[in-house]
């Protein structure tokens, strides 16, 4: 323990260096996999060209530059991302920003509905024992239903009665995102301890006052934690909801189109876009959390 010198300890104690190392390692592994997985096709290319004496450099460069690689190299994905994000008009159907916006709006609508529904259910559960006992097991069971599996059906069926666009996708997002909020908020509303509740009683406060002045504020940290889980889930819901609506756009339809036409780079670019979207949403909620909790005087 004592042998660790100061600079080395600083290197290993922060998070930045280990994470950067791991990302680098993943990139190296990715490039290695690219060479390995694309090798067969590249050999065929050389074969067809009648090129018998290729150097190892030509071979590696070839595996990194295929049109429809089994696994595109990271830089190919980045180039595709750059081409479809920055080089296209934002309103064009070739722009990833356009598709991401469609997905994002469905996600946000569903997320807001899910959060409101989750909070409402949690209020009911906390205030009524019959609801608590009868609803809670079914809520848990409702999440063991692979809702994503029926997401396409919900979209198609709702489309058949004329309900298209954002709402069907958002409903799936709602279903996925309300559950973490219910569980978190029930825990949060119950987090005030007996002493605090007794104090409220000595003040002769009504149920509403107990809720507004004690339960709601003490549930805030729980709300943000579960909202982070919920927003990630609603993004997944929106993407899967877009799978059957191939023409209507969105990251999900981009994935499906990519898989139909063997455009692997396009799939990976859409995946990266989805990852960036999810990270941004979680980051924004974290930011709001910090501001709200600070203004409420909760220790960070």
């Amino acid at each position: 323990m004592t042998a660790v010198t100061a600079p080395r300890r600083r290197l290993t104690e922060g998070r930045a260096v280990p994470v950067a190392t791991m990302v680098l390692a993943i990139l190296v592994i990715w490039y290695a996999c690219t060479i390995w997985l694309n090798a067969r096709w590249q050999l065929q290319v050389f074969d067809r060209a009648g090129q018998a004496d290729w150097t190892i450099w030509q071979f590696v460069a070839g595996t990194f530059a295929q049109d429809r690689p089994v696994l595109p190299a990271p830089h190919q994905v980045l180039v595709e991302l750059w081409n479809s994000v920055a080089m296209q008009d934002v309103t064009s159907r070739r722009s990833l920003v356009y598709h991401a916006w469609i997905t994002l709006s469905a996600t946000l609508l569903g997320f807001v509905m899910g959060t409101v529904l989750g909070i409402a259910l949690a209020v009911l559960i906390v205030h009524n024992r019959a609801v608590d006992r009868s609803l809670m097991p079914w809520l848990i069971a409702s999440q063991t239903i692979p809702i994503l599996a029926i997401a396409p059906m919900i979209v198609v069926v709702l489309a058949s009665i004329g309900l298209t666009g954002l709402v069907p996708k958002s409903l799936i997002s709602t279903y996925l995102s309300f559950f973490p909020v219910v569980v978190g908020m029930v825990k949060g509303f119950r987090s005030p301890d007996a002493l605090q509740l007794d104090l409220m009683r000595t003040y002769h406060s009504s149920r509403g006052q107990v809720f507004g002045k004690l339960r709601w504020p003490s549930a805030m940290p729980y709300l943000f934690t579960s909202m982070k889980v919920g927003v990630a889930a609603s993004l997944v819901g929106a993407i899967v909801g877009e799978l059957p609506t191939g023409a209507a756009g969105g990251l999900g339809s981009r994935l499906l189109a990519g898989s139909y036409y063997g455009q692997t780079t396009q799939i990976w670019a859409a995946l990266f876009m989805a990852a960036a979207l999810s990270a941004t949403l979680i980051f924004v909620i974290g930011l709001v959390e910090r501001i709200v909790l600070k203004r409420m005087g909760v220790r960070p």
Binding site: V19, V70, A130, I145, A149, P152, V157, L256, A274
Partner: protein, 291 residues
């Protein structure tokens, strides 16, 4: 519009509600009675939901394409048992179970491996928790391209989806044993492996089971969604997507019922094992359940 059905639904619903309000107020000392009440209350609620569904759908003449009544779904289930069984075998017994086992085992082993190196832990944990928040189902088309149409590609999706929650939870769980307990193992001159198997792994069980439970639903979702991207002509995802195409909504709902039942049983089985294994944990031992 059929008022009789609506009235029937409302009566059953209100009746069940009243019964539940009464049942939760029953004060009893007998453990058996209390357990029975805890079981009956949610069942009554489920029955009232089904009655409400059936009554409202029939009462308002909702087109079956939109939402078939539960009785029609039940009729479809009973009349197509062989198809449902074949799909279940393809999706659940092959893709889900195999993928789940591989993914969870890999996550566990990798977590134990990186746990010895603080550097790896600090590097991989943020990445792991980041990746487990990603829409990983999106890799389904890639996996189908790599591993072909049969169950292997679905199992691969399930492996990737279950790996990261397991990794993150196990690493957190391995840190759960406190310093006092570790010191005690040290005074016993326990080796690393003895400390791992006798103290740290048992202390990590609640976390590991948490991951197993999360993964049980993720695995089913992953396998079914992956089948939308290409499959042999059997499997729950395939059946759902092809039945939607022909607007055979009954069949879709029958598959959903099977999936929901399988998912709930899978989850329940893991919860049961958890109760046996982590009998010492406050959440199992304590009087209040449902946390």
């Amino acid at each position: 519009m059929n008022a009789g059905w609506i009235v029937f639904a409302l009566v059953v619903w209100l009746g069940c509600w009243a019964a539940n309000e009464y049942l939760v107020r029953v004060e009893t000392r007998q453990a058996g009675t209390r357990r029975a009440i805890n079981l009956v209350v949610p069942i009554l609620f489920g029955v009232s939901l089904l009655a409400l569904w059936e009554g409202l759908v029939r009462g308002f003449n909702v087109p079956p394409v939109l939402l078939p009544p539960p009785s029609a779904i039940w009729a479809q289930i009973t009349s197509s048992v062989p198809t449902l069984w074949a799909d279940f075998r393809q999706t659940f017994l092959k893709s889900v179970l195999i993928g789940y086992a591989i993914g969870c085992a890999a996550g566990l082993v990798v977590a134990i491996a990186i746990d010895r190196s603080p550097f790896l832990k600090r590097g991989l944990l943020p990445i792991g928790s980041f990746v487990s928040a990603l829409p990983l189902v999106g890799i389904a088309p890639i996996m189908v391209m790599w591993f072909g149409f049969d169950w292997q590609s679905k199992a691969a999706v399930v492996v990737v989806m279950t790996f990261f929650p397991m990794l993150v939870n196990t690493v957190a769980g391995l840190a759960a044993a406190n310093a006092m307990e570790r010191d005690l193992m040290h005074t016993y001159a326990a080796s690393y492996w003895q400390g791992l198997f006798k103290l740290r792994l048992p202390a990590a069980w609640p976390f590991i089971f948490n991951a197993l439970k999360i993964n049980s639903t993720l695995a089913l979702i992953g396998a079914i969604v992956a089948e939308f991207f290409g499959t042999p002509i059997v499997g729950m995802g395939f059946r759902i997507s092809s039945a939607i195409g022909r607007l055979q909504v009954d069949m879709v709902w029958a598959e959903i019922a099977v999936a929901a039942l399988a998912g709930s049983l899978f989850y329940g089985l893991i919860a049961l094992i958890e109760k046996r294994v982590t009998f010492w944990h406050p959440s199992v031992r304590g009087g209040r359940t449902g946390q």
